[in-house]
Amino acid sequence: MSADSPMDNYEKLFEVAKQNEEARREKPRILLGTASCGVAAGALQVKEFFLKEIESHGLDAEVVEVGCIGHCYAEPLAIIAKPGFPAITYGNLDEGLVHLLVEDFLAGEDPCYEYALAAVDRNDVFPTFEDFPRGIYENKLILEQCGYIDPESIDSYIEKDGYRALAKALSDEPARTLDEVKASNLRGRGGAGFPTGRKWETSLKAGGDEKYVICNADEGDPGAFMDRSILESDPHQVIEGMVLCAYAIGATEGYLYIRAEYPRAVKRVREALEQAREKGVLGSSILGTEFNFDLQVFQGAGAFVCGEETALLSSIEGRRGVPRYRPPFPAVEGLWGKPTVINNVKTFSYVPHIINRGADWFKSIGTPESPGTAVFSLVGKVVNTGLVEVPMGTTLRELIFEVGGGLPDGKEFKAVQIGGPSGGCLPESALDVPIDFDSLHEAGAIMGSGGLVVMDEDDCMVSVAHYFLEFTQQESCGKCTFCRLGTKHMLDILTDITRGHGDEERLTLLEELAEDVRDGSLCNLGRTAPNPVLTTLKYFRDEYKAHIEEGRCPARACRDLVLFYIEPSRCSKLCNVCVGSCPTEAIYTRDDGLKAIDQEKCVKCDNCRKACPPEYNAVIKLSPPVLPPEKEKKRT
């Protein structure tokens, strides 16, 4: 073991990293977004196009697979960094654009600004993402390097001062690290917002010489993908945060609990762990000190409830993921009964920044009670879908309309769903609520792990409540009665309402049941499961009423309450598009040449409505599902 101080050892790593990365930058480089979102949009094919074009032009350029920069609406995306030019981001890449970029920019001198999205760093020629209108709202701390550094190369992370916080911490007592995190007021980003420093301190004080640090990357919210994106784009940031935690509480072993549905994240984290061990920032005698800590990946097997910390522990121990009563909290009695700190991916990601730049800096961002930033995956009916990071305290309106660019197709905003199956639906009137743990809670939603779904006039609130409740109902582990049976009853009632069979009495029952399940369940899965129902009942009661009293779905979304109808006055007899689009051959041509729908055969798939040319727009949805009487012609 070397006698050098941890900082000396770090500076050596840093120098090597800098040299290696600088050497890489001498060649033109294409940083291609290949996180799952990019791959889904075809990034791997784009990679082939680049390689082919580079070869056919006889160029010497490197194609690097990076993570996600958060502008998922423009995937596949790449940053082209050519010496002598500012690094530029290009979106919506296809074979033609790749050909053009290689020929004109890489082989030539023309950066094709007309196709550019934004520059990476400030320069005199082209605006950056920060110059976008949304730039003033965004503040990227833990997403800062995502998509810009090579997640498969530790040098790329170290060069950006990665692991410097670790060296700094190791140069001092563990208590200093803990004090800094405590002073920063960092709150857990896994949903509940528990103060991280306090959790660590509890573990430290619990005593014993075996302790564990676990990163919760189970991310079960079916509309969220921030944690995955961070692991795929910047895995070392999370690892460094975990090592810092281990140092602060005196742990020697840890796990990253990653969903098995995230194979890319698992692979990148495993590689990152390997490289971290090689560099001596993980494993035994970290940075030349006597501190040892090692990490391994545990692949979760796909159960939402395993995101709950005690269920997660059961699952690592090889049992069914069933939560248990707390206290004792895992910080005192966790994995194999030993003190265990469990934090979310994002929570750990903030830690290196806090150690590097200090608690006061962290507290200067966000609000006093919820310092720092909030990370969301913004999806649904919003123009700029993707990952966003804004300071806590930003309002929902700013987030949706400024950062997200508002709703597409000129549709009317109806609601925003925050916090996934445990969260709630907030209406227009709640849009000025600032985003922080406490304000959202007051409004009836929760911060959750960061899924944010925007809904417009075409989304039915009863059906959305039904969707989330069905999810939690299926994922209930079945241990406690309220959660197992209560959610089932609630779901039955909701199902009836969406089919037009509800009644006022059962609506009251639904509300009572929701409150009982909330109060009577053992873990937060059950306790929060009624939230989507309670918030929609609170803010959108008239929609429930319309279903019950009129058999009408105002959004025309509940399929049992709508029918598809071709408006004869708008139908052009000459066009056959709808007939061809129907998967069940329900559309036929009447004797008079007009098209009509055989309601018996119609599966309400919406194909014909989409297929009907906009100049006619003849297919409409009717709710309640009653045909206009005189037009109820039989098929001849």
């Binding site: 889904a40 079916p222 159960a303 649904g380 798939c605």
Partner: protein, 188 residues
């Protein structure tokens, strides 16, 4: 589901191999099941029984684990596997209609495999490309966006064509080998 020819042997040898690399502790159970599934594509009842013997855990416990976690499948995957995204964004854009269309075309229900093992159909939660909703994952690695019922017909047609082509090449190679074998015989 009926075991195919030679499948029994494959199951036994796979379990044997997984057991050899296992510490045989309880904590190794879920990773062991994951390994078996990644080899065989599913968890056949026979494999669970043999694992139970090897790890000295009651078979019912293993079954309990396998049914508790969504990742484990008790049906073999089809040659063409379709997973329909039922994440929030996809649900709102009609994922359910897509799922139903596949059920209609494949003549199986969600969670099932067709008896000839050609098709299997599942639902998954958000695969992270909500912009392309509704989304379908084909054979684990190929993602299709904007899958309307008409596109479902297209995808099914592609499967049928691919399968037919494969059968033809198989037949050709078979005939080829027969021919060469016959010619080889003549030359002797």
């Amino acid at each position: 589901m009926q075991l195919l020819e030679g499948e029994r042997e494959l199951i036994l040898s796979t379990v044997e191999e997984v057991l050899q690399n296992s510490s045989r502790n309880r904590e190794d159970l879920i990773p062991s099941l994951q390994r078996v599934q990644s080899k065989l594509g599913y968890l056949p009842a026979l494999a669970m029984e043999k694992l139970a013997e090897g790890l000295d855990i009651p078979a019912v416990d293993i079954y309990g684990i396998a049914t508790f976690y969504n990742q484990f499948r008790l049906n073999p995957p089809g040659k063409y596997q379709v997973k329909v995204c039922m994440g929030t964004a996809c649900y709102m854009k009609g994922g359910e209609i897509t799922l139903e269309s596949f059920e209609r075309r494949m003549e199986i229900e969600e969670g099932e495999t067709s008896p000839d093992r050609l098709y299997s159909l599942e639902r998954v939660a958000c695969v992270g490309c909500c912009t392309l909703a509704p989304v379908v994952v084909v054979n684990d690695d190929h993602i299709e966006g904007y899958v309307t019922p008409t596109r479902v017909d297209g995808i099914m047609l592609e499967f049928e064509e691919a399968d037919q082509k494969e059968e033809e090449t198989e037949k050709e190679t078979e005939e080829e080998t027969k021919k060469t074998a016959a010619e080889g015989g003549k030359n002797k």
